[in-house]
Structure formats: C-alpha cells, structure tokens
C-alpha cells in the first residue's frame, strides 16, 4: 500500500521548523562533566593536579569505577586510563562541576604528571616494533581467506600498493549525553546509533543490572558509524558521574575534543595483485590488507572482517588468497564509518581491475562484465549467490551512460570518465551472527493510533518513515496514525546495533511479524474499515499489543579454517560512473556528473533512498578529493571545520540514479539494505576517471591537487 511510495519524512516538518530537540537543547539543572585528556601519544601517568577547584564536585579516575574496561569486541579500552595513556586525547579523568564555566576552568587548570614513553604510529612498523601497545605484536585481529590454489601466475599479472587516509565522520551534532540517577534507576539520554551497546557499557562501568538502567536515544544529528561505538564511552562517563554524585549530569563535547578523541575511518595499507588470461578472464587475486586501528580496538576486528570478505572485489575468481591485519598504534582509535572497511579495499581492487584492463588492452567495462558476480556465482568466500543478485544488472544499467560519457570526452565536454562497482553484505553477517536479531512491539490505541517500538534508531537515514510505511502497509491503516518511538532500552529487548544497513531488513521484518498477529486479531471483528475494526476490537476486548521478532538466517562462514562459507545473508550491489573535469595546472578535479545503479532489493521509499545515495556519493567524493586529516606523530594537526575540508554545495555533480531492484526472499516486502553500498566505490571511479583524463596512476586517498601536479612535472 505504501511500499515504493514517496511518503514524506515523518519527522521532516519539525526538523525544518527547528523544534526537534537534540540532546544539547535540553536545559536541565545538571552538573557539568568534562574530560581531562592525555597531552601525549604514549605516557606513564604519575598523577593529576588541579590548580583551580572552585565549583569542583568530584574528580573521577579509574579507581572510582566498578568496571574499569569497556567490554566490547575485545576488552582493551579502559573507560578511563589506568596507569598508561596510549593516544593524544585519551580520557584520563572526569571532573564534575557545578557550572559549565567552572568545569572548563578546572579542566584547563589540570596538570597531568607523566613520564613520556616512545610511540609507534605506522601500522606496518608497529607489527615488528619493540614498543608494545597490544599483546605480543600489536595485532588486534588477523584473518586469512584461501580459496582454490590461492594466488597463481597467469598470462598477465598486475600489482599495486595502495594507501588510504583517515576520514572523519563530521556529524553535525557533536557527541553529547545527559544522565540522571533517580529512584534507583539510572537513565541516560543522548545522541547515539546503538542504545544496546550503550546499555552494556553503562552497566559495566556502574555495576548496575540492566533492569535498573534505561538508555533513551534522543534525535541524533548524524552518525555515519561515528555514533556506533563511541557513544558507549561518552555515556559511560556521564552515567558514572551521575551515579556517584546522585545528581543529573550533562556532558557535551566541543568540536575539537570530538575530533581528537572519537573514532575515524581507518587509514589503510594494501598490497594487491590480480592474474588473468590474455582473453581477460581473472584467474586469481591476492590481497594484503592492513588497517591502522589506533590505540584501542573498538570495532576494528569487525571492520577488518567486512573489508576482508569483500577484498577481492565483486568478481568470480577461482583462486584467492587474502591476509588482513588490524594493528595497534599510538594514534586515535579508529572504528565504524559507513562502508565499514570496504571503501579502502574497494579503492584498491577497483583501481587495479582498471589497470588490468589497460594492460590487457580490454575496455574496463568489458573486463568487469566478463568477470562480474552473477546469480549462482561463488564469491571469494565460496558463498553461492542463489537469492537476490543484481550485480550484472546494475552494471548493464549504466552501459548507455558509459558510452555517452565516451562521446562527451571525444567532444571535449569532459576530460575523463571512470567506472567501478561493489557488492555489500547486508546486516551483520557471520562475524555478528549472535547479535543479528530484532524485536518490535506494536500497540494499537483505542483511537486507532499506533505506537511502534523498535530497537533500531532514526539517525537521519529515515528509519522512522520506512518503519511507519511498513507498519501501515501491514496493518492496513494510514501512515499518519503510526508513531515510531525513539528507542528506549527498557521498552524493547536488544535488537542489535543500528548499523550495516540492517534496520529496514531486521526491524522491518520484526514489525511485520507483530503486525501480522494484530491483523489476524482485527480480522476477527468482521469490520472492513480500519477505525471500525479498532472500535469493535476494543468492545470485544481483543489483544491489541503484540511483540514481533526476526532472527537472521544462519551463516556458515568458517573462522578457524580457510575463511570459506556464507559471509552474509544477502548482498546489495552498486555500479557507478564518474565524469570529471580536471585543471592540469592547478591539479584540481571536479566531478561534473555521477551516474549510479543499485540493487538494494525492493525500495520502500524512493525519495529517502535517493537521499542515501546522494549523501553517500557526496561523502565519498570528499573522501576521494578533499578530506585530508593530517596526523603527525599521533597528533591531529587540523581538528576543525576550517582545516578539514568538506564538500560544499558548489561542488555537487549532476547525479543520476537508477534503482534495479531484485527482490530478496527474506526481506520486508523484498527489501535488502541501502545506506552504505553507495559510499563504497565512488573513490575508485574518480581515480579511474583521473587516469582516463591524464594517464596518471594514483595509488592513494585522498587524491589532492599536489598529487596530480607532482605527477606532471
């Protein structure tokens, strides 16, 4: 009924009017919490002295915490540094003060007494360094995939070493939380993607049982992965402050501390090789993928895994060998960022595939068509793609545009064009198989209005609208009567994180499950009209509140052996084409047109889906051409909006989007997931377009004007 329709955002009007309340818009009578941070990348802490103490309520150090370590994927990250700090900006202590003014003065007056230790900043060096940050070899996690005979030589071999830089989320709303401890219930309100991760962390730091802690997500001003892992730390800090003082506490990050201490997209070092027959059949691939994880692991083991199982690209390749490492260094911890380990390695594989085409003398489009994954192909983890697989279809969809781009170049209207493509495993897959489930609660009020409680969050991607469309369609009621509540962990059980493009799929299916039960109940009334049904159902005292549940199908991936098996339940697919103009003297690249085709399964709301595609492309263009975080010996040199350059409205290309939906049999109305696939591959298509325009081969991100100009002289 409402599936595939351009329903307006349910929260759109309020956001435009400025009446949506974000966490810093709540002015409560609360203490201010601020963080004392490490000034150096690697230190032994001797003590802290506060020179200004007016208004100081409490100084909190690791000694005051019930649980000292954040137990997440690994348990290496202390909530507050114990005896050592391992990166600039690491939280060493918290201060609780009566006013914001005093809190800032106290933090500014804090003197940390320390002994400086030598640091290691490069992941390749760290693997063999005597300086130890984690374990024996500074490796948080490693993976290995071997398919067939591994890497084997053939007629043609291409290889490359690629390096990619950091990317900062730059969510417009900085991190922030408010906590209250009243009537034996500790409540934390704040900006976050994953309330159940936050719940875990708050219970760990305080020792409270989950039934006495409530996490309430407030409207969240952008996440992009940045509010997946890190809010756990911020919430734990404000929660312990409130728990220990018994008063409401507020902790809002300023932009610079958000910049230096919160997670980033991992920089990477990638060695990659392909071999192929002279006819253009890819025979084997080798990838060595190293991530600079920073001082603590956060989500690096999972980010690395997603990158690893997608590393050889969306092609049928018989023989594959992949090794990958997430390595500790004395730099800011890196974690989740939209695309989650795929954009880095996709940049490498899609660049090198293009170079392979050149070496073979085959058109890059044709080489891809020849080798692309299709229905019933095996991926490089040996997964049979027997459900929705639109990879060849999305590639074919942009063929006409590719031919037109060629003509535009001949006419001198553009300087170059390039293509690239990717697949994207939807939801958590085998590495998150124990987390991959979702609950929903749907309650119909006696006026016919409906409360939907889900465990995934609205972070701007449009979850509330899409879920309302799914609920209304399933119940047979207008969208306007549905209210999708902000997540409250005391109202719904752990439904996993709001990540991995999984909300439509997981929460959508859980909502359908609950609505089906309600629909059955409503049918007992014998009425036709929705509101008459509700009236009658109330008179008949029928049950009008139901719990829905969805459990992800099993995945067979083998972590112990050769890294073979089903990695994800299903994949989304994207192919795109970048057309550029380039100024050879200045080295500046302008993307003038961007065409992309996507198979996300059925599209629930085309307007919101386009929004995700356009936003993803914009962030990816930034990643490719503008966003350059400079880090020297562990110190971030440009932690501001002024010095870390983002794309603005004058740099927007003409964007053309095609939906090529291939229904997923387990998806809600056939949907898969879509927020991340669009960000993965634009960087490679821009790189290939620069090559097409100039012949310059670039092996790094970002691709700055100086990289192009230096290549010319």
């Amino acid at each position: 009924m409402f599936i595939g329709s351009r329903v307006f955002r349910v929260d759109g009007f309020e956001k435009c009017m400025g009446i949506t309340k974000y966490i810093d818009d709540y002015f409560v009578d609360a203490y201010t919490v601020k963080t004392i941070r490490s000034p150096k990348p690697h230190i032994k802490i001797k003590g802290i002295k506060l020179k200004y103490t007016t208004g100081l309520i409490k100084l909190i150090t690791s000694k005051d915490l019930k649980g000292k370590y954040w137990k997440f994927v690994l348990s290496d990250y202390p909530f507050l540094a114990t005896h050592k700090a391992r990166f600039i900006g690491e939280a060493i202590a918290l201060i609780v003060a009566d006013t914001e003014y005093n809190a800032q003065k106290i933090v500014d007056s804090a003197v940390i007494e320390y002994e400086e230790l030598p640091g290691v900043f490069d992941p390749v060096e760290a693997m063999k360094s005597k300086i130890k940050i984690y374990g024996k070899d500074n490796i948080f996690t490693k993976y290995r995939i071997k398919k067939g005979r591994g890497f084997i030589e053939d007629d043609v071999v291409v290889e490359g070493v690629f390096k990619t830089g950091y990317q900062v989320h730059m969510y417009m709303e900085p991190m922030g939380m408010i906590a209250t401890y009243e009537n034996s219930i500790l409540t934390v309100y704040g900006s976050m993607q994953c309330p159940f991760y936050v719940l875990d962390a708050v219970c760990q730091i305080t020792g409270l049982p989950k039934s006495r802690v409530r996490i309430l997500q407030t409207p969240t001003g952008g996440g992009f992965g940045g509010k997946e892992d890190m809010p756990s730390l911020v919430a734990a800090h404000v929660a312990i402050a409130s728990y220990l003082t018994g008063r409401p506490c507020k902790l809002i990050y300023d932009r610079e501390e958000d910049f230096i201490s919160m997670s980033k997209r991992h920089p990477s070092y990638i060695e990659i090789k392909y071999s192929a027959t002279k006819e253009g059949r890819i025979k084997s691939a080798y990838v060595k993928y190293i991530l600079n994880a920073g001082a603590y692991s956060t989500l690096s083991p999972i980010v690395l895994w997603r990158g690893t199982v997608h590393a050889a690209g969306p092609y049928e390749i018989e023989n594959v060998f992949i090794e990958s490492y997430a390595v500790a260094t004395n730099t800011v911890p890196c974690g989740a960022f939209r695309g989650f380990g795929q954009p880095q390695v996709n940049f490498a594989n899609e660049s090198l595939i293009d170079d392979l085409a050149d070496k073979l003398g085959i058109d890059p489009f044709e080489l891809r068509e020849k080798n692309i994954l299709k229905k019933n192909s095996l991926t490089h983890t040996g997964q049979l793609l027997n459900d929705s697989c639109g990879m060849p279809d999305v590639l074919r969809r942009i063929k006409k545009d590719y031919i037109e781009a060629k003509k535009r170049k001949e006419k001198g209207l553009i300087d170059g064009y390039g293509i690239a493509c990717n697949f994207y495993g939807v939801s958590l897959g085998a590495r998150g198989r124990y987390l991959d489930k979702a609950y929903a609660k749907v309650s119909i009020q006696n006026d016919g209005s409906v409360n939907v409680f889900i465990g995934n969050t609205e972070i701007g991607q449009g979850a509330k609208t899409v879920i309302a469309q799914i609920a209304a369609t399933s119940l047979g009621c207008p969208v306007e009567v549905i209210n999708v509540n902000d997540v409250d962990t005391s109202a719904i059980l752990d439904s996993g994180p709001t990540v991995a493009s999984r909300t439509t799929l997981m929460s959508g299916n859980a909502v359908i499950d609950a609505c089906k039960k309600l629909k059955k109940t409503l049918d007992k009334t014998g009425s036709k009209n929705y509101f008459e049904k509700i009236k009658k159902a109330y008179e008949m005292k029928l049950k009008l509140e139901e719990i829905g549940f969805y459990n992800s199908p099993p995945t067979s991936f083998d972590f112990e052996g050769e890294g073979q098996g089903d990695a994800y339940v299903v994949y989304s697919y994207t192919a795109n084409l970048a057309e550029i103009k380039i100024d050879r003297d200045l080295g500046t690249v302008k993307v003038v047109r961007f065409t992309s085709a996507h198979d996300f399964g059925s599209v629930i709301n085309p307007s919101l889906a386009e929004g995700q595609i356009e936003g993803g492309i914009s962030q990816a263009i930034g990643y490719a051409l503008y966003e350059n975080l400079v880090v020297e010996n562990g110190k971030i040199m440009n932690p501001t909006f002024t010095d870390y350059v983002l794309q603005v409205s004058t740099q927007v290309p003409e964007i053309k989007t095609y939906f090529v939906p291939r229904r997923y049999s387990h998806g809600p109305f056939g949907a898969k997931g879509l927020a991340e696939s669009p960000i993965i591959t634009p960087a490679a298509s821009i790189r290939n377009a620069i090559k097409n325009a100039t012949g310059i081969l670039l092996y790094k991100l970002p691709m700055l004007p100086e990289d192009i100009v230096q290549n010319d002289y």
Binding site: T20, D25, M172, E173, G222, G615, S618, V648
Partner: protein, 147 residues
C-alpha cells in the same frame, strides 16, 4: 550591558553579559534552541540567524552587538511553503543543519535572490544529503525551478 532589540517580531530590553556570544544568548537565555551549534567557528552555517536583514553566523557574533537591531531565528519563520518545500524534496535527513539552511533560504526569498543558488548556499554545510535535494527545495521555494 543593557541592550534593546527586536527578536522574532517582539521588542526586548535586557541586561546582557558582554562576553556572551549571540548563539549562547539565543539558546541559553532566550530558550530558542532551533539555532544549532556545530563547528563553533563560523564554517558550517548551522547557527545562521538574520540580523538587520543580513544572514550571520551567531557563533561568531557577540550578543551585545544586536543592540538596536532586529533578529530573526528559525523560530521566527512561519512560512509553511518553505517547510513544505524542504519536506517534499527530502531536503532534511538528520536535521541538525536544516534550521541554518531554512533561515538562509528565507533570507534569499525575502531579498529576491534567485541566482547562483549553489554559491549562495555554500556557507552552509550538510553532511547527510549531498546538497542536491536542498538545492532543489530552495529552488522550488524561491520560485526558480529552472537555472
């Protein structure tokens, strides 16, 4: 310092701390939280308000500077067509930058600025949308579907 000013059509006389920025004054003293603090250094435009018919970033202006002036914030804009244009074009996602764009678009229309929309909007940063839909919304609102 005691200042006189007009805010969203209403006249005020208030004693204002001379070290306070306009955004802090609007948010903390006047309770107008629609104006958002994001970068805090005048780069992102999330805190855009109109002072004497000029768009300004309120994080870089001191509150006392509005003495004898007229200020309009997003709360003072009651233009259904504007909100509709943004909602219809899916021009808002997380919504944090949206009031800044809304205020700027309102100022453009009021001053009949219809050209170079992309350049006009380049002082406002949006991390979600990629701008295309915002540009569409603003074009529709100010009555310039072409260009």
């Amino acid at each position: 310092m005691i200042i006189d000013f007009k805010l969203n059509g209403k006249k005020y006389r208030m004693d204002v701390d001379e070290s306070m920025t306009l955004i802090d004054f609007l948010r903390k003293k006047m309770g107008l939280t629609g104006t958002k603090l994001s970068c805090g250094e005048g780069e992102c435009g999330s805190c855009t308000v109109i002072v004497n018919n000029k768009p300004v970033v309120s994080c870089l202006m001191m509150a006392v500077k509005i003495d004898k002036k007229e200020v309009i914030t997003v709360e003072g804009i009651n233009d259904k067509k504007l909100f509709e244009a943004f909602t219809k074009n899916a021009a808002t996602q997380c919504g944090f930058c949206t009031p800044g764009f809304v205020v700027y678009a309102y100022w453009m229309k009021k001053n009949k600025i219809r050209k170079n929309i992309e350049v006009e909007l380049s002082g406002n940063i949006c991390r979600c949308t990629g701008y295309t839909k915002i540009i569409d919304a603003v074009k529709e609102y100010i009555g310039n579907k072409g260009s």
